[in-house]
């Protein structure tokens, strides 16, 4: 058994306004898995992902990151330029895609290379040939190379999310964080995007940590599941083991599962 790529230990996040979003959360992310985080709205899922790539800063606890077997560092302790390096290694996609709508699809994908391009060069639009080639490759991987020179705003939601995946891949990340990647898409498109995420997971071997709302999707795509409730970890296991009593515990008594297909 190889070592986990991420080990989250006693993670606590308290926002400046006093909200305790994470209370002593610990779990591992295994190399190459498709881990899904579930939990009610406000349970701390987004906060957790944003602590891992340091868009937010943990209050206490450790996030041990092992890029390779045998080397490790604590993401929670990173400062200054180290934080930027960690973000490069943790690609992220968002519920609302977060592209630059007025810029071309190709440019948006290239922005994944910003972290590895000197600021002055990037501002003049000078990305390396290799970056351009990789950007195009990833556009092809998510099946929208024919839209490369459209403005991002001209694409449908599902297509925009695929551009966002390509942008994250261009970062050459070790982990892909996905914060409710299909929550603003219709059910059919939702599967298209989830299928691409699975493809990235299986073909490129990229570790994925994904927040999801629908249990039917969780059962279909996750290799492992953790559940948060009120900022605490309440479940860790395989998706098939989430039965009615677990469901009631995670989502509260009286909650009912809805299915989308």
């Amino acid at each position: 058994m190889s070592e986990p790529i991420l080990s989250i230990r006693n993670l606590v996040k308290t926002y400046p306004n006093g909200t305790q979003a994470l209370k002593d959360v610990s779990f591992d992310v295994k190399r190459g898995e498709f881990l899904v985080i579930i939990g009610l709205s406000g349970s701390g899922k987004s906060t957790l992902l944003r602590c891992v790539n340091r868009l937010h800063h943990p209050t206490s606890g450790q996030i041990i990151y092992r890029p390779k077997e045998g080397s490790e560092s604590d993401i929670a302790q990173a400062e200054g330029a180290e934080i930027l390096k960690i973000r490069r290694k943790m690609g992220m996609i968002f519920q609302h895609f977060n592209l630059i709508p007025r810029h071309s699809v190709m440019d948006n994908v290239l922005y994944g290379a910003l972290g590895s391009t000197p600021t002055v060069k990037s501002v003049m639009g000078l990305f390396s040939d290799e970056d351009e080639k990789r950007a195009l490759d990833y556009l092809r991987l998510v099946g929208i190379e024919d839209k490369a020179y459209f403005r991002a705003a001209q694409l449908s939601g599902g297509q925009q999310q695929r551009v966002a995946i390509a942008r994250a891949l261009t970062q050459a990340p070790d982990v892909l964080l996905a914060d409710e990647p299909v929550a603003s898409l219709d059910p059919a498109t939702c599967h298209v995007v989830m299928d691409y995420l699975r493809k990235v997971n299986q073909e490129l071997g990229l570790t994925i940590v994904c927040n999801l709302h629908f249990l039917s999707l969780v059962r279909q795509y996750a290799t492992r599941v953790v559940a948060l409730k009120g900022g605490k970890l309440v479940y860790e296991g395989s998706p098939s083991e989430i039965n009615d009593s677990w469901f009631a515990q995670i989502y509260g008594e009286g909650a009912k599962e809805v299915h989308i297909n």
Partner: protein
Amino acid sequence: MSQGSSNVSSETGAAVRRSILDGVVFAYLAFTLLAILGLEESELVNRVPQFAMMFLGLSIVGGVVSLALNAKGIKTLGWQIYAPPHLRMKSAEELATPIYKSFWGVQTIVLVAVTTAVGIKTTEIDIFKLLEVDRFNHAMRLFAQLFAPDWSILPKAIVKVVETIYIAFIATVIAVPIAFVLSFLMARNIMGGSKIGFAVYAILRTVFNISRSIEPVLWAIIFSIWASFGPFAGMLALLVHSVASLAKQYSEIVEGIEDGPVEGIESTGASRLQVVWFAVVPQVVLPYISYTVYRWDTNVRMATILGLVGGGGIGAMLMEYFGQAMWPQVGCIIFVIASVVWLMDAFSSHIRAAIK
């Protein structure tokens, strides 16, 4: 618990504010009454400290009266303005009373009426002056000459108005890059992250708020001494004012941007400057252009005024003929200015509509 204590402190704060307001209103009314009863301006000027003390005293009396009235449930103007929201609920009886019968209604009406009366006296409004035969005829002769412009100076006026347009253009063009850089340093969402950043933000805000509150005409007077009379002085005056105005308008646009793209670019490991350039700038470019065109248009109008006080261009020319009471020539210049202002206005609203 904490909710309750914050309610108490907000109520105290509101009570202090409303008694100050009611107090000052009371002192103002009492004072004005005094002035109407025949206080000479010279008396007022000679005894400023005494009157200031008196005003303060009257304010305190008014403030105490206000507290007493509000405690008895008679709602004053101060209460209407400063009462915390959870005390705003009106009783059915209050809702049924017409405004002019309520205490604060009467207070407001008296305040407006007294101010209007004093205002009319101070402005020396005198309709009959306009109707005196001599004055009236004189004005009519002047109009007749203005409306018979002397077109022989038209070529010179056009040259001068073009000069004004260029003055305004250069002031705008130099102001834009300066304001562009400043706008990010003056935006809270960009600078709020660190202590140093916030200090820069606060200092720049203050400096530019002050420089913006100095009218361009004053800048023109300063620069016409420093850089001698002429277009250069006018341009400098416009430049200072444009940088201050544009930086403020631009920074407000920056503060209104969407967070999503910023987060998206940040998540790639981009540097701070890259985040600004790739996530913020694309969101602000169009509104920036729109404001810039409008600023140029405004600057043309302002440059005309600045010419009157030594800023060169068509304004200076207008001043020259005006000083010699050469009305037909003045008429021609006014025609040229009006045409250009109208054209610039149409042009700028056309561009702004096009880039929306």
